[in-house]
């Protein structure tokens, strides 16, 4: 049993470009293959082609052949192929068909007319494999996001297919859910009978599971194929040059290599990085931590004793929070911790109790929406939700027109924003026709156009890959440089470590801790709140021989090829190995 991809090119209906564009590889039994490529290279499309959804269910032209168990996918049906190749998709909500966990797992085998006894037998084995058997009578909706993705894996297992294809299975999950899914997947592949094809951008979670990596380039062409170490470590620079993200440990090692610290072999996981660092007798001093903006005497956001109850449940419990002007504050916590509620209260999306919040000098509870938008802007998780006009330019002008600004002012402000958001070429396009990243930038623009000094973003990187996330963060950093204060809700803790100046950790509605990022990451608040430290911090905490390195959490803290690290060394600031 195998899946072979032979010179496959796929063109979606109505598109001109082929993505992927000429890919050949084979999935051998028992092997875990990671499919990598920059945004838009056609990874997900290729994943859909492996069980025939492309071209059977998704209208597209397919050239070349995908051969499953000796049969070309185009000459059979998706239903027949599902016995050989099972799929797990990105969105856990969109995969649930029935009303209980058990019924859900039975759905696939029932469709295949497996006898009822065997259906139950398979369902039990699949649910036990992912640790959900005890919860079989519950509704799938009662499971967490990670639980629902485990359920989706169980559903795929129950089909009895020897090949499992997972398309960004953790993109919509919090770090805890991601860990759950990979723990389940590890158990599934442990006996070596199932092959797995994985499309994933969170390499830090996945890399220790993967046997082989196939890389596509930006144009969707087949670029690299080899074992995990051959591709991600030995050819790390090539992979990075293709616009593909590497594990944070590998990125860190590349940076160190530039600074003259050769780690060989290149580490792929946090544990490997820690071991490699300890193996060095000498390490340069880490770059000084980013200067933390001194807490302004007059914080731009003040939350005092904010308690929110909803449906008999306390969502926020006596939250006190100060955000200094010019800060990038990340609100972190597991799902249900109250992050979104706090963000919405600060921005007045759901007005908080009077007197509990002051933002840019006003109380959102007492300020009419039209005035409030001059002080604070809110960016929703799904940008489409807040787009209301027919063209990009109109969308930006909308808020200002409601403020009664004259045409000349509106036109000037819109031109300026289009340029800053890099959307000038799209000015007359319907907002819904923009790409995901463009929509996100436009929604940020709509929140800023009325002159808000505070910008609140609810999970702006949800469901996006690192490349888009980095693009958004670059935009936010430009805005902060221009005087905006940013609050953002996010699950991506490496992004928090690298870009946020401050962190507030929420747990079960309470603000557990808040402070400058380096201070919060140095403590145990993240673990106490059920979160994992970011990957780089996980590595440096395990370092034994170089105490100064244990505080390193940001890639920017690492000595880099530029002048500062060299100067450090020149000044004799080398940290010797512990005696």
């Amino acid at each position: 049993m195998s899946v072979r991809v032979e010179d496959v090119r796929i063109r979606h209906e109505g598109r001109t470009a082929w993505r992927p564009d000429g890919v050949t590889f084979a999935v051998r039994p028992g092997e875990v293959v990671l499919l990598l490529g920059p945004s838009g290279s056609g990874k997900s499309t290729l994943a859909l082609a492996l069980d025939g959804l492309v071209p059977h269910a998704v209208p597209a032209d397919l050239e070349g052949r995908v051969v499953v168990d000796g049969t070309a996918t185009t000459s059979t049906t998706v239903a027949r192929l599902s016995e050989h190749v099972a799929m797990v998709f990105q969105d856990p909500d969109a995969q649930v068909v029935t009303g209980t966990v058990l019924d859900e797992v039975c759905f696939g085998p029932e469709n295949l007319r497996v006898p009822a006894d065997e259906v139950l037998d398979r369902a039990e084995r699949a649910l036990r494999a992912v640790g959900l058997w005890e919860r079989r009578t519950e509704a799938p909706d009662a499971l967490s996001g990670g639980g629902r993705q485990r359920l989706a894996i169980a559903c795929a297992l129950a089909l009895g297919s020897p090949v499992l294809v997972l398309d960004e299975p953790t993109a919509n999950l919090d770090p805890v859910g991601t860990q759950e899914v990979y723990a389940a997947l590890r158990a599934v592949v442990a006996d070596g009978t199932r092959a797995v094809v994985l499309v994933e951008h969170d390499l830090d979670a996945a890399v220790d599971l993967v046997d082989r990596v196939v890389v596509l380039d930006r144009a969707g062409r087949y670029a690299l194929d080899g074992t995990t170490r051959e591709v991600l470590a030995d050819r790390a620079e090539e992979v990075a040059a293709l616009g593909v993200w590497l594990p944070v440990a590998t990125l860190a090692a590349l940076r160190l290599r530039g600074a003259g610290v050769a780690l060989d072999p290149l580490p792929l996981t946090a544990a490997e990085l820690a071991t490699a660092l300890d193996a060095c007798d000498e390490l340069p001093a880490p770059a000084a931590a980013a200067p933390t903006p001194a807490a302004a005497a007059d914080p731009v956001v003040q939350v005092r004793g904010l308690t929110v109850r909803r449906g008999g449940r306390t969502v926020l419990d006596d939250v006190h929070l100060d955000v200094p002007a010019g800060a990038v504050l990340a609100l972190v916590g597991v799902n249900g911790a109250g992050k979104t509620t706090l963000a919405q209260a600060v921005a007045g999306v759901v007005p908080p109790p009077r007197g509990t919040v002051r933002v840019a000098g006003v109380d959102p509870a007492r300020t009419p929406p039209r005035t409030l938008v001059r002080h604070v802007g809110f960016v929703f998780q799904n940008p489409e939700h807040q787009l209301v006009r027919g063209t990009v330019a109109d969308e930006l002008a909308h808020g200002l027109r409601l403020q009664g600004a004259d045409d000349a002012t509106v036109a000037a402000a819109v031109e300026d924003l289009l340029r800053r958001l890099d959307l000038t070429a799209e000015r007359d396009v319907h907002p819904f026709l923009l790409s995901g990243g463009q929509k996100r930038r436009l929604s940020v623009g709509t929140a800023l156009v009325t002159g808000a000094r505070v910008l609140v973003l609810d999970e702006p990187t949800y469901g996006q890959d690192r490349e888009r996330a980095a693009e958004l963060l670059a935009l936010l950093e430009r805005l902060v440089a221009e005087g905006t204060t940013v609050l953002l809700v996010t699950h991506d803790l490496q992004l928090v470590a690298d870009h946020a100046t401050h962190v507030a950790v929420l747990h079960e509605g309470r603000l557990v801790t808040t402070g400058p990022t380096s201070a919060v990451l140095a403590g145990t608040a993240l673990e106490d709140a059920g979160l994992l430290p970011p990957p780089l911090a996980r590595a440096t905490r395990q370092v034994r021989r170089h105490p100064a390195w244990r505080a390193v959490t940001r890639l920017a803290d690492l000595p880099h090829p530029g002048a500062p690290a060299a100067a450090d060394r020149g000044a004799g600031a080398t940290v010797g190995a512990g005696a």
Binding site: D103, F107, E110, A139, C155, G311, F432
Partner: protein, 266 residues
């Protein structure tokens, strides 16, 4: 999460008390449909009282409804119906009630006993139809009705399961609509009052809601295809919703009562 709870409740196997819940959903529809149709076409308040009464007895004895629901259905609803009926009497054409005793006189305008009876009679029929449909409606779950239509009526399973999948969309869209409304309020589109502003607002909600709905439906369809949905003309059915003797008995009895009512009162 209340949406999730609603879905979960609708799907859970029905273990609440009440013999009506153990009957085939199709039997309950078949049993009450002729009576309901009869009351729609036949202007006879007495028949409404008889057939509505039978339905009420069935609901009290066999539906296992909570007291609050029963009180609403059998006490509050008839009182409200009586008020509506009296009001309906105002619209009865005066020509048809000449000679009837006058209950209220305001100048040249009169409200006669015949008009009141006519109004109450109409409402009684509507209320009886409500009770009759409640016999099946309040004691049947959507999934059971779908299974029964597959197993007894041979409705293709693709149709039934698609309907069930669509049923799951409802709470999701409720939540999505709430988010969109909040988002539009933030953008300052929630201004203006009156029907024109309302209409414009709702058109504004429709675009993102539909875009989201189509994308979601597409994903669900892909996920179902990937799990062999539609692979064969039939699928394994682990739950049987059989048609038993007691289902036939229910249908025969209610049809006999309906026929008798018609024969005796016509």
């Amino acid at each position: 999460m209340s949406a999730a709870v609603a879905v979960a409740r609708a799907w859970a196997p029905d273990v609440r008390p009440g013999f009506l819940r153990r009957l085939n959903p199709l039997a309950k529809v078949a049993a009450t449909l002729p009576a309901a149709v009869l009351l729609v076409v036949w202007h006879e308040a007495a028949a409404a009282l008889v057939l509505g009464g039978v339905a009420a007895v069935l609901l009290v004895v066999g539906a296992g409804l909570r007291p609050r629901v029963l009180a609403g259905l059998l006490v509050a609803a008839p009182l409200a119906a009586a008020v509506v009926g009296a009001a309906l009497g105002l619209w009865v054409a005066p020509g048809t009630t000449t000679g009837s005793p006058v209950l209220v006189r305001l100048g040249s305008w009169t409200y006669t006993q015949a008009a009141l009876v006519e109004g109450l009679g109409t409402v009684a029929r509507l209320y009886a139809v409500l009770l009759l449909t409640s016999v099946g409606g309040l004691t049947t779950t959507g999934p059971d009705l779908v299974r029964a239509s597959q197993q007894q009526l041979r409705v293709p399973y693709r149709v039934g399961w698609t309907a069930l999948a669509a049923f799951r969309f409802v709470p999701r869209f409720g939540h999505e609509l709430a988010v969109i409304r909040a988002a539009h309020r933030v953008r300052g589109t929630d201004t203006g009052t009156g029907p024109v502003a309302d209409l414009r607002r709702y058109v504004g909600y429709a675009v993102p809601l539909l875009a989201g709905a189509l994308r979601h439906a597409e994903r669900v369809a892909l996920a179902m295809d990937a799990r062999a949905f539609g692979a064969h003309p039939t699928r394994t059915e682990r739950y049987r919703v059989p048609w038993r003797h007691r289902d036939s008995a229910l249908v025969a009895t209610t049809w006999a009562v309906t026929l008798a009512t018609w024969l005796l009162l016509r």
